[in-house]
Subunit: 137 residues, 3 copies
Amino acid sequence: MEQPLAISLFSGTDDRLNAAAVLAAGAAAIGRPVHVFLQYWALDAFRSDRITNDHGLAPEAGVEGANAVRRLARLGQSSWAETLRQAKDIGQVEIQASSLSMDLLGLEQTDLDPLVDGVEGVTAFWLAASDGQVVFI
Amino acid sequence: MEQPLAISLFSGTDDRLNAAAVLAAGAAAIGRPVHVFLQYWALDAFRSDRITNDHGLAPEAGVEGANAVRRLARLGQSSWAETLRQAKDIGQVEIQASSLSMDLLGLEQTDLDPLVDGVEGVTAFWLAASDGQVVFI
Amino acid sequence: MEQPLAISLFSGTDDRLNAAAVLAAGAAAIGRPVHVFLQYWALDAFRSDRITNDHGLAPEAGVEGANAVRRLARLGQSSWAETLRQAKDIGQVEIQASSLSMDLLGLEQTDLDPLVDGVEGVTAFWLAASDGQVVFI
């Protein structure tokens, strides 16, 4: 089996979510199992009533960076949610919401986009993550 | 022995510090040795005269996110410093300040909270981190 | 051979770029091969017409943090670009630009500083990164 990849996904801006989705999809495409753990503002971005919203960019993007991102979106570039959906179709990608962050934001699983497979605690995350690489985004 | 976890901790906002503390405590709870390396704004947050201050949130939190964090704090949720203190009690958690960041901020070890075990350079960090997983937060 | 280190470098502020450069140089100094993958705002910071510019700091730096960084720069501290140049001299450090981010920012390789060795896709990054540790900065 290829080495698993675990992503502790904290950030909720479109640029970081897109970077995470591209890394997850690339790993899934070469056969690696990918486990994504949604915390804080990343979890908020997966709410079904907001997932297609504009989630902003890191402040460092500046006006020029924001224009570049908007131009690619107009040209039909996939959103991070679409990239993750495609990654789930071609590979083994599991997306779990952090139970602590669910409490923080007052969410139930029915509030989340169907991309999210379930809710887990940090211990379950570490058990899933312990065999491979892990990144925090 | 369980796989070691090294955390290169750079960020000094309460949301990221809390995410780091929860990941560290979860890893320690399942028997993993955890090594935390404090740099830049994370190190600043461990100054003994500031560790209980409000350290703000990532800009992406927004008003709604900030209210959610404040509501949990009022309900008695542990601070990240308390979470790390508990993690040290139940497991093997070592917290080291980056010598370069100590110079940057003009700090001596006596300026830091007793949670911090010592000061080390980046080579010592890599020697401690080389056997397991590493995350940058 | 020492364990390889892969850095998925996303952030373009001088504090995070410097943290990344110090981690990369420290790993290279103990004989570890280092592979850096430039995305988004980090890639923008490697443009040859901007690499020596002030790239700002994370918002959490605050006025006091910004003054500390400026003071060290006046005292002659190496910039992150110089640190990476020195790391390339003493060790095995490869820096690749993300092809997706090149498209996003409308760049050609001739627009980039000679520190950047080439352009690669995410699959090539994962193939280079799969054997060791990986961090996202």
